[in-house]
Amino acid sequence: MSPALSVWISGIGLWAPGAGDWHAFRDIVADGAAPGETARPVADVLPPNERRRAPESVLLAVAVAGQAVRMSGRDAATLPCVFASAHGDQVITDYMCETLATAPRELSPTKFHNSVHNAPAGYWTIATGCHAASSAVSGGEEAFGAGLLEAATLAVADDRDVLLASYDIAGTGPLGSMTTTTGPFAVALVLSPRAEGAAVRLDITPERGNSGSEPMGDAWLDGLSASNPSARAVPLMRALALTRPAALRIAAARGLDLHIDIGVAA
């Protein structure tokens, strides 16, 4: 059976505690390097004053998006983008709910406009001068898979390269105990409907059922994967780091997995 969607990967970005970019992650996974110190995400696409003021979710999402677009060599200004996150900026949601419970009239207008789920998409499109379609999506705990399905669908349907970024930050306050997100993580991919020099292809087919994730047998990777909904991408990112053909499943919704065959050009 032919896959429902085939896309090529022309750019990758990643930030994890201990791996400040995709290259650091690849060195850990493929070459056995030790995870490093946790560094602040480098969102150098943002102007310096925006970078200082930006909420954590925006820094994280923009940092990985910037890495992926740079690797792809594409022009960010013309790339449609999909920003996926299970929970958005939980620190701001915690602030909002606490302030509303105690002093609602003191709510910060800046925090309010940064609280929208599409804040990273907004800051990204402003910083890159991007007038293409931008979206902000969630799929609960399956947000990464749901975002990947949406971004791959958009790339194939409109025959355009598409930027996908998936991010979640650690939960905090009473809300944090509801979301079980214990650490920040973000990943980004530039997906292309055609090969155009890219070495790695994803053949994606939705399949019924959730198979659950199998442990990767590496304490750091398994810990990462369990810490954050966007880190459900870790098994895929590990396979990309090892650059060899593989097949895996990633949940895209309750009761729906994506079967992904990773093809690598010889």
């Binding site: 429902a4 969607l5 449609p80 299970a86 929970h87 958005g88 949601t93 909002m96 709910c97 606490e98 509303l100 419970a101 609602p104 009239r105 709510l107 910060s108 207008p109 309010f112 406009h113 940064n114 609280s115 929208v116 789920h117 599409n118 804040a119 998409a121 907004g122 800051y123 499109t125 402003i126 890159t128 991007c130 007038h131 293409a132 379609a133 931008s134 979206s135 902000a136 999506v137 969630s138 799929g139 609960g140 399956e142 749901a146 399905l149 949406e150 669908t153 349907a157 409109d158 009473p174 809300l175 509801m178 979301t179 079980t180 939705p206 019924r208 919704a253 309750r254 009761g255 729906l256």
Partner: protein
Amino acid sequence: MPHLMTPLAISAYTATSALGLGLQAHAEALAASRGGLTPNDFSTAPLDCWIGRVAGVEDEPLPPEWAEWDCRNNRLAWIALRQDGFAEAVRAARERYGSARIAVLLGTSTASIGATEEGYRRLDHGNMPADLHRPALHTPHSLASFVAAAFELDGPCLTVATACSSSAKVFANAERMIRLGLIDAAIVGGTDSLCDSVLFGFNSLELVAPEPCRPFDAGRNGISIGEAAGFAILERLEAEKDAPLLIGYGEASDAHHMSTPHPEGLGAELALRDALARAGIEPRDVDYINLHGTASQKNDEVEAALVARTFPPTTRASSTKGFTGHTLGAAGVLEAAITLLAMRERQVPANLGTTTPDPLCGPQMAWRPEPAEIRIALSNSFGFGGNNACLAFARAERRA
């Protein structure tokens, strides 16, 4: 340039807002130019403004089997889903296509954050109180996961949360998935309910009017916030011969500012051009535009100029936010439903609430209701972060 879109059938649709439950209540209120805004009696601390509140939401808890999802936002969604035979239409589609071939693609800006706010108001030793110890609620995906569970659907399930364009953009998600054969039908739409986050949030930005909102009035001074739920089923034309059609959509970004539109409406215009191109139509083909028209200074200024410079006077245009308030993430689908009703009822809705038109407005504006044969219509939705969407619809007979 985008490709010409193969139209999709809108085989069922419904809306619930301050105008009432279901399409008939909306048709009657629109025909009579009777708005639904009332003085704010919702926020947990006093706030001098008007709101578009759906009566009775508090009195209708979800059925016990879905108690995990019970909150104002999902109650409002469930009320709306039971109007106009919509739930029956979903079940029939499930029967026809199978549960994995129907996507649930819903827009919301704040989902059930009202329940999270409530938890913070009555914390139990610093923790979420036991009755709100329900992770399914405290996430933007609460609405879509509830709707998928309620109809036992296990196809793609996505929340789009791009502020006030959310439930317009889901029509585009659905078209792409149907075109590529990933699904056979989609439930699109969205729900946003009143909560302190948006009432005090927009208040903090000084965007809330103390009186009922007056879109495109020279003296307008801000929005009125409302709540609404709306849903539609999209499927291929062959499935439904007599339905109105989705014929195009456009999406674009301002790349300008987080909470202020582009001064020349660049993103709005790009979204409009994208929608016209996909639909294969020209501005002169458009009989009616349901405008975003929030009654904020900037939005209306930019949108009025865009309409005035793009369309002939025969294209009629109005904002219906004077009827319903700005229902934020639900505005896209609510106003899509109002646009389809305008076609069905052969009447352009009034731009309610305005007494002194802004001189920027062109001759397209329908200040009062007008009888009209509306064959092709657009609906505009623009959101924070410079996120713009435009939907294009056609009356059924265009297919001949």
